[in-house]
């Protein structure tokens, strides 16, 4: 793809700009139509498309925005992956999840954080537990991952369903998920998380919203 030749400083500037804009517009709360419109606006935006089009045709530029920064955006907000430092605000990360799933006294096993679904291993003394987390909409993947762990492990796996400001889960859905988790032999916790200003942020912080 022609855009692979993006010089590193320019790529960095683009990532900061796109993530800053995504943060300002509450990307995670946009409808699919609004996201599509936004991709078009980014192409028209001199600070984004205007720069990218110098390195390749428009369709490649659009694909790059979609498949590189925005594909990683949700993970960066979780504090996972190579793009964390571009996210203006993010969640505190897996430690908060482990605390909610297992209580204090458990810590994250080093280098155990992975994705699809987001997961890690929590340790306390000799015990090791599998913990995975995600949004209520991805419950099916979480259950499947927990089931696969449960049959290989003596410890009960834990599923954490996370919500954020602006997001709710209905009582009916909540109840059903509780029953499903019970049937699968997994612990289920609900955790409502607040975002914090990203401590590893690369961009200038004066432009970010309070």
């Amino acid at each position: 793809m022609a855009l692979q030749h993006l010089p590193a400083p320019i790529r960095e500037r683009l990532l900061i700009e796109i993530y800053q804009q995504a943060n300002d517009m509450d990307w995670e709360f946009l409808s699919n139509t609004e996201k599509t419109n936004q991709y078009r606006r980014w192409i028209e935006d001199p600070k984004v498309g205007g720069v990218l089009l110098a390195y390749g045709p428009e369709k490649d530029a659009r694909v790059w925005i979609k498949d590189v920064p925005m594909k990683e955006y949700a993970r960066a907000q979780e504090g996972i992956g190579n793009y964390v430092r571009y996210a203006v605000n993010r969640f505190q990360g897996p430690a908060e999840i482990v605390r909610a799933a297992c209580g204090s006294g458990w810590t994250i096993k080093p280098d155990s954080v992975g994705e699809k679904p987001n997961h890690c291993y929590a340790v306390a003394g000799d015990a090791t537990r599998y913990v995975c987390w995600g949004r209520a909409a991805n419950f099916r993947d979480l259950v499947w991952a927990a089931l696969n762990e449960a049959i290989d492990s003596t410890e009960r796996p834990a599923i954490v369903i996370t919500t954020r400001n602006g997001e709710t889960v209905s009582t009916a859905e909540h109840t059903r998920q509780d029953r499903l988790a019970l049937r699968c032999g997994a612990d289920l916790r609900y955790l409502h998380r607040e975002m914090v200003p990203n401590p590893d942020y690369l961009g200038a912080t004066d432009g970010s919203r309070s």
Binding site: D26, F29, N37, P57, N165, T168
Partner: protein
């Protein structure tokens, strides 16, 4: 003397359910609950990181038995005592001031209206548990007690905080309507409008079913845009900011008492609090006209109480005896359309309990209205006739600058050199609200207003007659001037458009550079520019250019009067050579030819060449804002222009009214008086109107023509019409000038006074007459 005896007047617990019978629409019920959260954020003054409210409504595939409505915020949460108060009808934490809350009843009315069971779950950061209170209206009504059970539930993390209101056991009718996607769309749009200020300016987040509610932003001309009236520059945005004297707000009844009062002057209680009072905001000019979508928003604590309100556009005399008179819009012909909008904050004015209006009979409301519109009529002449002072309010200033809707920069109305582009301007507003990148600023509208004053027309004389089109004048200095005069501009131009240095062969101009050269020598044809979508042929975003002084060639270098080029899908450029003989000598319509090229491009792209070209052109044309050639549209245009002519004639006629008055026939005088009675509403005597020369505004068109013919020297030479007259000494030449003006005027008059059956050719002639008159009107007309 008997001892006093009492009866117990505690209402039956059933009353909580009965509150749900009060008329509240869906969005109002939700807004009551959102108000509570937004109030809390404003009271917390910045201590909540990102104030957020999530509303969820049951989806279309839900079951009523388990369906629920949730309103969840991340505010500071409540203690047990606070939540007890919050759900008790009639209790309110902060009196009737400083909050959006409805005197303690809003919560009970809106929850009871939607469902039979309400749960409030709340906790403050640091508290160990969630408090969960359940208000089961059926159970409460059946018991003799007002009692709601609560339980404590451990939190996943002590840091969690906020309040969630969940309404379940939804009422059948409410549920059936609420789960419709269409209803949810309407609610979303309404909330985006009502809370636009808090969402856009304060950064509050409001989601509906996990999708962000977008604030409906005003689409107004920039503050830097101005028009000039009588030497005064009037900005398109006027700020309002008036700090009022501090007064004592009564926490019991809401009345404002003087600052030194110790008891409420209305109810006598001593629960007074000194409060700042301020009326602030802006009024401005929308970039498009609309029949209903204009007017002023009045806000309280950041929430719109009245939306698009048109009260300020009526004049009522101080005594309020006569009927209020509409003052705006009164200049827009058969269908009144307006564009004055604004956002006025008046937190100290008491709203009605439904929050759909203010208490109009209070001094506070009258003061707020006065601040915006003053007390005299906005119409200066009417004010003068009534002996009232000149109105200098912000609204009067905007009114003076923008009351009329003539296309061009003089009134900031987009046009295409012939007509106003009202529909296009409104279409662009839709794109602005969808977030279209180039529609965020008013640049597109401004260019279109500018284009009207500098219209796209066929070049009467091709520029650079004696050199090859597309070459700079420097070509003349070249020794090796081509002999055949063939215009192959592209081949001997350098990439930069400069002449090549002597002895060097110029690098050929690339296609991109050639197209850029066309754009650099072109004006945008605003009325054709924009998105087109045809079902079978897909979409193009067209930009149309009227190119001057350049010979156009296609990609494979074939000369053509009009060419298209797809820059990047779906953007399509169409270029028209305004100097081409096809337009200049054969009189072809350059817009139509541009559309023919676009149609051909679309049909080839979709590989449906069997589709008739003319049919595609017809469909494209229906997308454009080109004025329709219908008797009604043409008549309206004629009337509008004649109105302008009459207005401009007032000044010259007033110099010697009697002379002109005497030219009128008996019937014309009677006609004029009748029209005056209808339009001026008898604000001043008819005789005064005759002696001031104002009568000319009411005379029939036939008389207008006779008056112009009788003394052309009063009206030509830039007074009403641009054409020169005085400087001509030859009587024949003078007669000719007048005749050339009277002929098109006669066409306009014909349509104003009669509605004959007209065929297309006659309509075309009248349309051209309209253009000729519009072109000839002096700038101050």
């Amino acid at each position: 003397m008997t001892e006093s005896q009492y009866i117990n007047v505690t209402p039956h617990p059933r009353i909580l359910g009965v509150l749900g019978d009060i008329e509240f629409s869906h969005w109002q019920c939700l807004a009551e609950l959102i108000d509570n959260s937004f109030d809390e954020f404003q009271a917390a003054a910045g201590t909540v990181d990102r104030p957020s409210v999530a509303v969820s409504l049951p989806p279309a595939n839900s079951q009523r038995a388990t369906a629920e409505i949730k309103v969840q915020d991340n505010g500071r949460g409540m203690s047990l005592e606070a939540v007890t108060n919050a759900i008790s009808a009639g209790w309110t934490s902060n009196g009737r001031h400083g909050s959006l809350g409805l005197f303690g009843m809003g919560f009970n009315i809106s929850t009871a209206r939607l469902g039979r069971c309400t749960t409030v779950r709340t906790s403050r950061a640091g508290d160990p548990d969630w408090i969960e209170v359940t208000l089961d209206l059926t159970r409460i009504a059946n018991s003799a007690e007002y009692q709601a059970p609560y339980r404590l539930m451990p939190k996943a993390s002590r840091d969690e905080h906020g309040t969630t209101v969940t309404i379940s056991e939804l009422k059948q009718e409410q549920y059936a309507t609420l789960c419709r996607p269409q209803t949810q769309t309407v609610i979303r749009e309404k909330l985006g409008d009502v809370y636009s200020y808090l969402l856009a300016e304060k950064g509050f987040l409001l989601t509906l079913n996990s999708k962000k509610v977008r604030p409906r932003l005003p689409c107004v001309w920039d503050e830097k845009r101005t028009v000039t009236r009588q030497g005064v520059e009037i900005h398109a945005v006027q700020r309002v900011d008036r700090v009022l004297s501090t007064k004592n707000a009564c926490m019991a009844c809401g009345y404002w008492s003087t600052a030194d009062a110790e008891r409420c002057e209305e109810c006598g209680q001593d629960r007074l609090e000194l409060r700042e009072r301020r009326i602030w905001g802006w009024i401005g000019i929308q970039r498009y006209l609309h029949r209903t979508d204009y007017g002023l928003d009045f806000l309280r604590n950041g929430r719109k109480i009245m939306l698009k309100d048109k009260r300020a556009f009526y004049w009522e005399d101080e005594d309020g005896i006569a009927e209020a008179e509409l003052e705006y819009p009164i200049d827009s012909g058969a269908v009144p359309m307006g564009r004055i909008v604004g956002e006025i904050h008046c937190d100290h004015v008491t709203p009605n309990y439904q929050k759909t209006a203010f208490e109009f009979d209070t001094a506070e409301w009258r003061h707020a209205l006065r601040e915006v519109r003053g007390t005299s009529p906005l119409r200066p002449k009417i004010a003068k006739n009534l002996g009232l002072p000149e109105n200098r309010s912000p609204l009067a200033l905007l009114y003076a600058g923008f009351r009329r809707q003539d296309p061009g920069l003089n009134y900031l109305i987009p046009g295409d050199g012939r007509n106003a582009l009202h529909e296009t301007a409104a279409k662009w507003a839709g794109l602005m609200r969808k977030g279209g990148y180039e529609y965020q600023t008013d640049e597109v509208w401004y260019r279109a207003a500018h284009q009207h004053d500098n219209p796209i027309a066929v070049d009467p004389q091709p520029e650079n007659d004696d050199i090859l089109p597309g070459f700079g004048a420097g070509l003349l200095d070249l020794d090796d001037e081509p002999e055949d005069g063939a215009a192959t501009g592209a081949t001997s131009m350098t990439a930069t458009g400069q002449e090549p240095p002597e002895g060097e062969v110029a690098p050929a101009e690339t296609l991109d550079q050639r197209l850029q050269r066309y754009r650099d020598n072109a004006d945008l044809i605003v009325d054709l520019t924009g998105p087109y979508y045809l079902e079978e042929l897909g979409r193009v975003d067209l930009t149309a250019w009227a190119v001057r002084g350049q010979n156009l060639v296609t990609k494979d270098e074939r000369p053509a009067p009009a060419i298209v080029s797809m820059v990047r899908a779906p953007h399509l450029d169409v270029f028209v050579d305004t100097g081409h003989s096809l337009f200049r000598e054969h009189g072809a319509d350059l817009r139509d030819l541009a559309l023919v090229e676009v149609a051909e491009f679309m049909r080839v792209r979709a590989n449906i060449v069997s589709m008739p070209l003319s049919e595609i052109v017809a469909q494209l044309k229906s997308h454009t804002s080109s004025p329709r050639l219908t008797p009604a549209a043409t008549a309206e245009e004629s009337e509008r222009l004649l109105e302008q002519v009459r207005m401009a004639m007032v000044a010259p006629v007033s110099a010697n009214p009697a002379v002109h008055w005497l030219l009128l026939t008996k019937d014309e005088r009677a006609d004029a008086e009748r029209r005056f009675a209808v339009e001026a509403g008898g604000t001043s005597p008819w005789n005064d109107t005759i002696s001031s020369g104002e009568f000319i505004r009411y005379v029939p068109a036939s008389a207008v023509i006779r008056i112009v013919q009788d003394s052309p020297e009063s009206f030509l030479d830039g007074c009403v019409f641009k054409r020169g007259y005085i400087a001509l000494s030859d009587p024949g030449a003078r007669a000719l000038v007048v005749e050339r003006l009277i002929n098109p005027l006669g066409d306009l008059a014909l349509l104003e006074q009669h509605r004959p059956r007209l065929d297309v050719e006659e309509l075309s002639r009248i349309r051209i007459s309209c253009r000729l008159i519009a072109r000839d009107l002096a700038d101050n007309a």
